[in-house]
């Protein structure tokens, strides 16, 4: 066991971890931040995406020890202190971009990272960027639409109901 220290959602976080402790297990089990989910064991589904030093990573494919000294942001750290959701979060609700909610934290974290890199993506770019985030409920229609809307683009011409 070894001690790791990092900043999680702007606050110092530390704990004892084994070598094999994944970042996602540290976040979920040690810190009790259960918004980050685990949906696969082959680094593909993206339910566990968090930001490490500002970059989207799969928390199931990084050891907690590797996050020593980093700034980690999880889904719990996205909304403002008063609960106000980010434009991406709001757009997911507005455009029904989620159903069961299990993939949603990873989707939102990927979408936030995408829009930081590419503030006005095309539909194809959004779909391409989401390759690593699997959703079984929505058929992606409203997720893509929500992200385009969150980027400030007009989505009124996209089939709605």
């Amino acid at each position: 066991m070894a001690q790791v220290k990092m900043t999680v959602n702007g606050k110092p976080a530390s704990g004892e971890v084994e070598g094999r402790t994944l970042l996602v297990d540290f976040i979920r089990d040690t810190l009790g931040l259960t918004g980050t989910h685990v949906g696969c064991d082959t680094s593909q589904c993206g339910a566990c995406v968090v930001h490490v030093d500002g970059k989207a990573v799969k928390a199931c494919s990084m050891f907690a020890a590797e996050a020593e000294g980093t700034e980690v942001t999880t889904i719990e750290g996205m909304a403002a202190e008063d609960g106000t959701m980010t434009p991406v979060q709001k757009a997911f609700q507005e455009f029904h971009g989620l159903q069961c909610g299990f993939c949603t934290p990873g989707m939102v974290m990927s979408a936030e990272a995408m829009l930081k890199d590419n503030p006005s993506p095309t539909e194809a770019e959004v779909r391409e960027y989401l390759k690593g985030n699997i959703c079984r409920c929505t058929g992606y229609h409203n997720i893509v639409k929500a992200i385009l809307a969150a980027s400030g683009q007009d989505v009124s011409n996209i089939a709605a109901e």
């Binding site: 070598g19 593909q44 970059k55 050891f63």
Partner: protein
């Protein structure tokens, strides 16, 4: 996962020293392949020597010969961002896995693993790149040694990969629908002194050079030069995603497309 210790050295020398302490110690690059493997308990290292804290093997620069030199610990995302002088390499890097994987996975890790469906081996082999380690420089043609096997010795770490920049190049990747690895990927690079064609995803022997295509293209760098050329289906991977014959067919299709797009 089996239990192991993690060490996070900050220099190549320290990493090598740790790896040499025991045959059971293993290097960890970005972990995007190794960590899933550990989860399946298919590997049981005593110590994982994590290379992500070694700054001296990160980053992209250009050397005096105009080669693009990429540190072994550079992520796919950083390769894509830093290799603008070699657009085919950029495209290849930015189409590996997904963005989150590209923020962790490294060129050195991919090459050391030499997955038969990985993209980097095709780029390195087609470019005639040089793989630099803490011990030596290894020419691309000497580096790959069949599926999941390379010329690397125990405890040898890829510190840098030097890519000569071709006159023209293109990478065509036909994705396996599930993993999104290459079902067949073909990297074509045209240099002043010849054309190199490297194929990944297809062969049971891992990445290979398609020399017949190279010879045809040396005389005439156009898709028509490939007319009638094919690779034998024998020795091609056959699985639920496609037969050996299908893969052999795709090799020809992807090669032609790569030449057309180069």
């Amino acid at each position: 996962m089996y239990a192991f210790e993690i060490e996070r050295p900050s220099t190549v020398a320290d990493a090598v020293a740790l790896l040499k302490q025991s045959d059971e110690n293993q290097a960890l690059g970005g972990g995007q392949t190794l960590i899933p493997t550990l989860k399946q308990r298919l590997a049981a290292p005593e110590v994982l020597v994590c290379l992500s804290g070694i700054d001296e093997i990160k980053g992209v620069c250009t050397d005096d010969d105009g080669r693009i030199c990429i540190g072994g610990g550079t992520t796919h995302g950083e390769v894509a961002a830093g290799s603008g002088a070699y657009p085919a390499l950029v495209w290849m890097a930015e189409n590996i896995g997904d963005p989150a994987v590209r923020n962790r996975g490294t060129i050195g890790g991919s090459l050391a693993n030499n997955d038969p469906s990985a993209c980097y081996p095709a780029a390195v082999l087609a470019s005639g790149a040089t793989v630099v380690t803490n011990e030596r420089e290894i020419a691309a043609d000497d580096f790959f040694d069949g599926m999941f096997a390379t010329a690397l010795n125990e405890g040898e770490i890829i510190t840098e990969v030097k890519f000569p920049v071709p006159e023209k190049a293109n990478y065509q990747k036909f994705e396996q629908p599930a993993s999104r690895f290459a079902l067949v990927g073909v990297f074509v690079a045209k240099f002043a002194d010849g054309v190199r064609v490297a194929v990944t995803g297809a062969s049971e022997e891992g990445v290979f050079r398609w020399t017949e295509a190279e010879e045809a293209l040396n005389g005439n760098f156009s898709a028509s030069a490939l007319d009638g050329l094919s690779v034998p289906a024998d020795g091609m991977i056959s699985d639920l995603h496609g037969s050996g014959a299908y893969r052999a067919h795709l090799v020809a299709v992807m090669t032609r497309r790569a030449v057309e797009a180069a």
